[in-house]
């Protein structure tokens, strides 16, 4: 029997060896970012657009560094608060990066950075019509996810927890429900993860990939943390494919009881 591992991540019309998508913000330097990307072995990186300040080369240095990685680009619409803003920024992004892929973010609350589900669907529907390949950053609400699929999203990216919190999977029940109810849609947990074990947990549920940024960029050693997440993601995927055992309420001896010396009556201390 062969190990059912190393299947590729299929998103829209492309396939990727890695199931790890990594953000490019918050690193202490472009070099630190490049080392993390290399250690992660990711094939997709996210990036953004901001108002240009010609006196500040920071943005250009990051962009030049990202181009060196050869990774597939997934630009975002971070910070947009209406469908109109997100649609405009997506078009600007398509022109600069020469890709129709867009990580669609429409934020509805500044405190939690929770997506606005109504504006998200509105923006997704229009962008799909304009030929974009939309990867929406969404909540774990089942009906919202169905609506996003209905308007043409072929990948969904529900949050694990609010962006940058490192809280992990705050609603495993809902995430598991999404997996069960949308078996043919690639699902990527995006945002809120803080530890590799949390990424493994999502992958063990059957999630197709993990997108994160802060947990790696803000680690004391980003490259080492990127590697740790990559291993956890691969481990979780392999565990999912191998098939997890069914949980039991009571103990069940793994060593055969037949032929056991020193036979005892069952001991129940109640």
């Amino acid at each position: 029997m062969t190990l059912a591992t190393h299947t590729e991540l299929a998103l829209y019309d492309l396939s990727f060896k890695s199931r790890f998508l990594l953000g490019t913000a918050l690193y202490s330097s472009p070099q630190s970012m490049l080392e993390a990307i290399e250690a992660s072995a990711c094939n997709i990186v996210t990036l953004g657009l901001r108002r240009q300040n010609p006196a500040n080369r920071d943005g250009q240095d990051i962009w030049e560094a990202i181009q060196k990685t050869g990774c597939h680009l997934l630009p975002n619409t971070a910070g947009c608060k209406s469908a109109k803003e997100a649609i405009t920024l997506a078009n600007m992004s398509r022109e600069i990066f020469d890709t129709a892929w867009i990580k669609l973010e429409v934020i509805g609350d500044d405190y939690t950075l929770q997506p606005d589900p109504f504006a998200l669907v509105e923006a997704a529907e229009e962008l799909v019509k304009q030929g974009f390949k939309v990867l929406p950053y969404c909540t774990d609400d089942l009906i919202l996810c169905h609506k996003l699929v209905d308007v043409g999203c072929k990948v969904l990216m529900p949050w694990g927890a609010p962006i940058g919190t490192g809280q992990g999977l705050l609603n495993p029940y809902q995430l598991r429900t999404l997996r069960e109810r949308l078996p043919n849609i690639p699902l990527i947990v995006d945002a809120g993860l803080g530890a590799p074990s949390q990424a493994a947990e999502a992958m063990e549920m059957g999630y197709d990939g993990i997108l994160l940024n802060t947990a790696v960029a803000k680690a004391q050693n980003p490259a080492a943390m990127a590697r740790a997440f990559a291993l956890a993601i691969e481990s979780g995927r392999l565990a999912y494919q191998a098939g997890l055992m069914v949980k039991r309420q009571t103990a069940s001896a793994s060593t055969p009881t037949v032929g056991q010396p020193f036979w005892h009556q069952p001991c129940n201390r109640n």
Partner: protein, 85 residues
Amino acid sequence: MTQPENVLDHSAPEDHTTSIDASVNGVRTTLAENTTVKQLLESHNPSHAPVAVAKNNEFVPRGQYETTVIKHGDALDIVSPVGGG
């Protein structure tokens, strides 16, 4: 607190008759009347870094820079790549 004011004069002295005020990346900027987006970028983006432009929250495709005239009160957003999550 008042925002810094940029004065970008794209016209020759002899035809510099009227100026307009526009917002460029949130900064009030005085421009010569009939300045196009292409002319604005020559001043704002002399290094020709990759940028995209929106006028009054509407995307301006690269092919329209030369024909898109900035009017008094317009709001221009000029964006470039940054790291993102």
